[in-house]
């Protein structure tokens, strides 16, 4: 069973401190929601864990089953079992979805999947997320609507089967139908209970579909309050005002 341990993580962007000592442990089978106002550093946490070059880690550790991810390159972290579903997946011209997915699956599994098996998995995955079959031939994220991009992120999640998934505002920009389809994908992924999920969101809406075990409130670059699902209800009713005032 896998564990992601974030220990006293400090991160800066262009010398400006954003994360100021984050501590968080996510175990397989658990779903943690990180909630917070805009600018509280939620997305910074996601991208710093994944290794985006824009973010400089100035202190702390991120351990996945005891291995410090911060010592690894971006692709090594992914192969170690980390997955980041991005808020704004980038368009990559000339690289087809099917080619990209096959390369990713090959890299993560360490061997090329059998072509027929892969085609079957891909089709099943796309069907489950109501993604049109023609998508496989399109260029990666190019001309995708917001909803299509998010479904495609969840398709990757289901194909790559990471140990720990970080979902960065996967619910933003989705209408109710798309939110349900995407949430079902996340629930399928976590159903086996062998994976951990770190769900970053501004709104409580997605938590009605993807029930968290723990809720952490983020403000000014650190966790300021923790609790169970009931904390989300409190935020729903009261908003973030109390936290933004306290940290200002």
């Amino acid at each position: 069973m896998s564990t992601l341990e974030i220990r006293d993580l400090h991160v800066a962007v262009e010398d400006k401190p954003i994360l100021r000592g984050v501590n968080l442990t996510v175990k397989a089978g658990e779903t943690h929601a990180i909630m917070g106002p805009n600018g509280s550093g939620k997305s910074t946490l996601a991208y710093a864990i994944a290794g985006h070059p824009k973010y400089t880690v100035t202190g702390g550790q991120v351990l996945l089953d005891g291995v410090d991810l911060l010592e690894l390159s971006v692709d090594e972290r992914a192969r170690a079992g980390l997955f980041l579903a991005m808020q704004y997946p980038v368009e990559v011209p000339g690289v087809s979805v099917s080619n990209f997915l096959r390369s990713a699956v090959t890299s993560v599994r360490g061997e090329a999947p059998k072509l027929r098996e892969f085609a079957k998995d891909l089709k099943a995955g796309m069907d489950a997320l109501s993604i049109d079959a023609a998508f496989a031939q399109r260029n990666l994220n190019e001309g995708f609507s917001g909803g299509e991009k998010k479904r495609h992120e969840i398709l990757q999640l289901e194909l790559l089967k990471p140990k720990i998934a970080v979902l960065d505002e996967t619910d933003s920009g989705l209408d109710v139908d798309a939110l349900r389809v995407v949430s079902e994908g996340i629930n399928r992924f976590r159903a086996a209970g062998e994976t951990g999920v770190l769900l970053i969101t501004h709104y409580t809406r997605i938590l009605r579909y993807v029930k968290p075990d723990f809720v952490h409130v983020f403000a000014a670059g650190r966790v300021v309050e923790e609790g169970g699902p009931e904390l989300a209800d409190k935020l729903e009713a009261e908003g973030y005002e109390a936290y933004t005032k306290a940290s200002a």
Binding site: P53, D75, A78, V92, G94, S103, A104
Partner: protein, 372 residues
Amino acid sequence: MGLATTPSSTLQRKSSYELDDFAVPTGREEEWRFTPLSRLKGLHDGTAAGSGAVSVAVDAAPEATVETVGREDERIGKAYVPADRVSAQAYAAFEKATVVTVPREAVASKPTVITFTGGGGTAYGHTVVRLEPMAEAVVVLDHRGSAVYADNVEFVVGDGATLKVVSLQDWADDAVHVSHHHAQLGKDATFRGFVVTLGGDVVRLSPSVSYTAPGGDADLTGLYFVDAGQHLEHRLLVDHSQPNCKSNVVYKGALQGDDAHAVWIGDVIIRVEAEGTDTYELNRNLLLTDGARADSVPNLEILTGEVAGAGHASASGRLDDEHIFYLQARGIPFDEARRLVIRGFFGQLIEKIEVEELRDRVMAKVEAELAG
């Protein structure tokens, strides 16, 4: 004051069969300012004596006739008049010309491959490819080996004919090649030119298109990969002088290494009489390392108010970090992520190459450049 009625494009300023009509360039001229004259091994100043060191072999389609002719042959110089000093030098100095003819209404059953192999030394050449009315053919110009070579190639595309050309500059590292490729399109003629430039120390290739009647359609595609120290220059000129003709120019290049230098000049002229012209040109450069340089100069001159479409675009930039991050975040190692993105950059172009073996060869070459 009305619209100007004569184009100002420097490439059109003069053309002549006479070498002496062109002064020895100094490098300050607009058309020579990007070219490293000191590396042309004398092609531009009359000091490079031809030794005939480039052999020409033709594997022709059975429908085509191939002749090797002398300078006096009347088919030479019909479609093209030299437009600069080196072109005039090549015209003045070549001894034998290759003439490929595809007769009226003949459809060539296989590509005609003309292989130019450099054996060291300096040479001048001339090639004429003639498609009679309604003929269809694919012609490959395959340049390899080591040489200092200047030549002119004339493509005469008759009324209703379709000519597809792939010109591959796959020279050895020390080669110097200065070349003009001119396509003259008859009524409703179609020309598809695909240029791939990979090898050589200096390659300066000037593809141009003219129209003798309405309805011509020219598509010019180019792909280049510039390594450290290489100078690869492409100078396009499409001269719309007839109504209702089309042209589309897409050139893409990647550069890596110190002093890798790409030059792309895209001149399109739409003359007063060329109403209904539809033209677009695009150049993109991908700078893979520091120390590489791309100069890209699109130039669209429109002298009539009645065009169907006219546009140009040029962009040079680095590999996008966000692209690489996204692919790496899915477990794909950096080198492979880079390859995928560059392959994507070129991929759609390579798919346009008419001949499958050539497509594979170009893809393999690009892969080798990426690996190296």
